[in-house]
Symmetry: C2
Subunit: 149 residues, 2 copies
DNA sequence: TATTGTTATACTCTATAACTATA
DNA sequence: TATAGTTATAGAGTATAACAATA
């Protein structure tokens, strides 16, 4: 039997495997109980943290295509969690804000999210948890992948 | 502006963001040049490492549904990279093996995969890279998420 | 009756292009 | 002409259930 050395040292493979666990934790604590998808939750928390964001910003922050974001915003608006209003300074642009209901939901999800992370402490110590996030951020925020100039 | 403390300490959010970078590196080095999807590549390398695996094993290792795996195996078989044969000890079960062509491809992808990981060294030092994989494995292989008994 | 694997189906996600309105 | 956002469409991924073969 050949070695699994290659796959075992491939970061992407392990990110995908860890993602399965993180997704299960999300579904258990947030997705199922609150009927939210990962992208709904992330969008909600990002708008909560920034007060108002343009779709363009959210496309960047969530790594979504513009069309997909439009659909997510449609759903979140129908659910009454967000509002869309034209930006008075540039009427091409839209300002996304939370409704009172959306802000209430975001606040109520904060302790839920903390419980979710606590649940992962069965697998990762607090130090491991912090270090994992530090390394994931370093990978995500580093210089672009291609651009071999 | 409210704080992003919650999202910033949510492992799943950072796994998703890092996954974007890892996926871009995969597409650049392996996906585009060799016309392989992530699941094709992982399957190829897993079968190469184990000589023969049952679909049941691959479902577990790749976190796929059984129907999706069937479709992946169909495609990889049509491309001539794998064979399927009934297990003589239990004819319900199937043995998946690499063809000569599949084994050749797997070997040729080893240096490519190493180059891909080298490319990530612009973002992560060698020590960071190893530590990140250690923590991701710990998260992926820990005790089940639910089972609150 | 249970297990392995496949086929069928519907639903969601993703990527691209075309379109509207504003600048 | 360029940009922000939406709509339309087609392709790929995902989940569920129904099925066939074997144990």
């Amino acid at each position: 039997m050949a070695s699994r050395a290659v796959l075992d040292t491939t970061v992407g493979f392990h990110i995908a495997r860890a993602g399965v666990v993180a997704d299960a934790a999300f579904d258990l604590h947030i997705g199922k109980p609150h009927d939210l998808r990962r992208v709904d939750y992330s969008l909600l928390m990002l708008v909560a943290a920034s007060e108002r964001l343009a779709p363009k910003d959210l496309v960047q922050l969530l790594s979504l295509s513009a069309p997909k974001l439009s659909m997510v915003l449609d759903r979140m608006q129908e659910l009454g969690f967000i509002d869309r209003a034209p930006n008075p300074l540039d009427r091409r642009s839209v300002q996304v804000t939370l409704t009172a209901q959306g802000a209430k939901l975001a606040r109520s999800l904060e302790p839920v999210a903390r419980r979710m992370e606590q649940g992962l402490k069965k697998r990762l110590s607090a130090a491991d948890h912090a270090e994992l996030i530090r390394l994931l951020r370093k990978l995500a925020d580093g210089p672009p992948v291609k651009a071999r100039t």
